[in-house]
Symmetry: C2
């Protein structure tokens, strides 16, 4: 009898869920908005409703479910299943795994969203078939995850893999929260991209970047401008690729992994930054780790979190 | 009956060896110069003579030796025991482990010198009792090594752990061989220190750094100048500490290790660079990995290579 896993991907505005088969296929899906500042009980309740819908959809019962996996923003403690803090939801010390397990009655595991996305791409996506990989998720921030020797690597306190906080250039732009100027996140997140686009719009009033009100400029718009040949917008993606490539070279020389997966919303602009990223990584990586490392675009995209949460739950069973 | 290991540390000018007890103590030592451009046979022969002397010294026979460990400059293939290339010795594809095993008749293992030093500090030095650590060896270059989950981490091709090639600032000074400007090695090696001292001597003719002919300035002299209060020399160590701290923060955020060990000849200036190193690392590391990471001065110093080569040989037996 095949085993099924229920998996959830909790974000700042939505909770998505699905039933995942043992081959990593998502067999049924559901979603709901989290609502403003929901309690842990409310989110667990919404997850139970999504679960009910998905089970009904496939004609399954809770007894058919081997485990439940939840990906959540962190920091969190994956051993106790407690979300320590999520600024976007206003949570402190919410025992989310316990709350969900009480409702669904199946073994429930919690992991941070970046690690779930990493495991998803490793299990079924752009890093499948390897034993070592990293992922960089270019969203509002830059998420990261590491697979070493076929296992999720999290460090002694579960706080490794924060690849967005690699220092790319210590003299670089300030971070909006942390005192770590010039981090990968300060260069290559959507937040940084928008900051750079606003600065470019001021410096180049003729640029397409200046044709929209500053507060409406987002990564998609910066990509659209570049695709239309706007020089200032193209330069933003060139520099984003350059700084990504620097970080990838550091990871190559440090860890000698097989694949680096680049995911997140900014990947819509892959064709605009992949070349400078590759070039800078090749240039700076030592011969053997440089020749080994393949930089690839994420394949599972929005599904990586759910697929990875399911896969990690099975690993931990 | 206690087990003994013969271990060797092969350098560009000397080969050192010793008998190491199972507790990591060096019980007997020997050394010889490698001579100019020696063959693999010649070096293996010198190792056999050192072994003979050490055995005699302790009243032991080859039958008392469980294994032989050799630390060598690389790149090398630790699985086949072949030194692929060592510019300092002029070697290409020298099967050093086999040559030594033929002479000594005991199982012989080869590992690169930086990894041996790392394992030595992990087993018996500044990182003992941990499960995760890194080492940065500040010599002519900057060597590196990683311990993750209690094991030497070398990556998929044995070419990970090259921490000297972490990019600290992509706009930084050129490397003398590689096209990786602003790497840790380009900032924090003795080579970089001497380069900076020469530049400072030109810029500040009143500095103590300018009182010696440029070709006689070395790390020890730059340290001595700083200890006498020379501002230009102190600045060199401040900046070396700053750049070391940047790299340590990247390692903390990436790997969340327990200890970072700083070794190598430049550690004689520890008191001159430790404070800015700590400060910059604390500043840039995320809360939990930053609180966890302790930066420590290497304890075994010149013995780390021999102790580590012995320990790794036992691990592989």
């Amino acid at each position: 009898m095949p085993r099924y896993v229920l998996a959830f991907d909790l974000g700042g505005t939505n909770v998505r869920g699905g039933i995942v088969g043992e081959d990593g296929t998502i067999l049924s899906r559901g979603r709901d908005s989290t609502g403003p500042r929901p309690s842990g009980e409310e989110v667990a309740g919404k997850m139970a409703i999504i679960a009910e819908g998905c089970l009904k959809d496939r004609g399954l019962k809770l007894a058919d479910i081997a485990a439940v996996g939840i990906g959540s923003p962190g920091p969190l403690d994956s051993r106790t299943g407690i979300v320590i803090e999520t600024p976007n939801l206003g949570w402190k010390n919410v025992p989310l795994a316990k709350l969900v397990q009480e409702r669904l009655g199946r073994p429930t595991f919690l992991e941070n969203d970046a690690n779930c996305a990493c495991w998803g791409e490793f299990w079924k996506g752009a890093a499948r078939g390897t034993r070592s990989a990293f992922i960089l998720t270019l969203g509002t921030g830059v998420g990261g995850g590491l697979i070493l020797d076929g296992k999720l690597y999290k460090g002694i306190d579960d706080t490794g893999g924060h690849l967005g906080h690699i220092v790319v250039n210590p003299e670089g732009p300030p971070h909006w929260v942390l005192d770590n100027p010039g981090s990968l996140e300060a260069y290559c997140s959507a937040t940084a991209c928008i900051r750079d686009a606003r600065a470019a719009a001021k410096a180049h009033p003729d640029s397409l970047l200046a044709k929209k009100p500053a507060e409406q400029v987002d990564g998609a718009y910066v990509a659209a401008c570049a695709e239309q040949g706007d020089a200032a917008a193209k330069e933003i993606w060139q520099m984003l690729g350059y700084h990504l490539g620097v970080a990838c070279a550091t990871l190559a020389n440090t860890l000698n992994p097989e694949v680096g997966v680049i995911g997140g919303g900014l990947c819509q602009a892959w064709d605009l930054f992949a070349e400078p990223m590759e070039k800078e990584c090749r240039r700076r990586a030592l011969g053997p780790p440089g020749a080994r490392l393949k930089l690839r675009r994420a394949e599972l995209v929005d599904d990586a979190g759910i697929v990875g949460a399911a896969g990690l739950a099975v690993e931990r069973l």
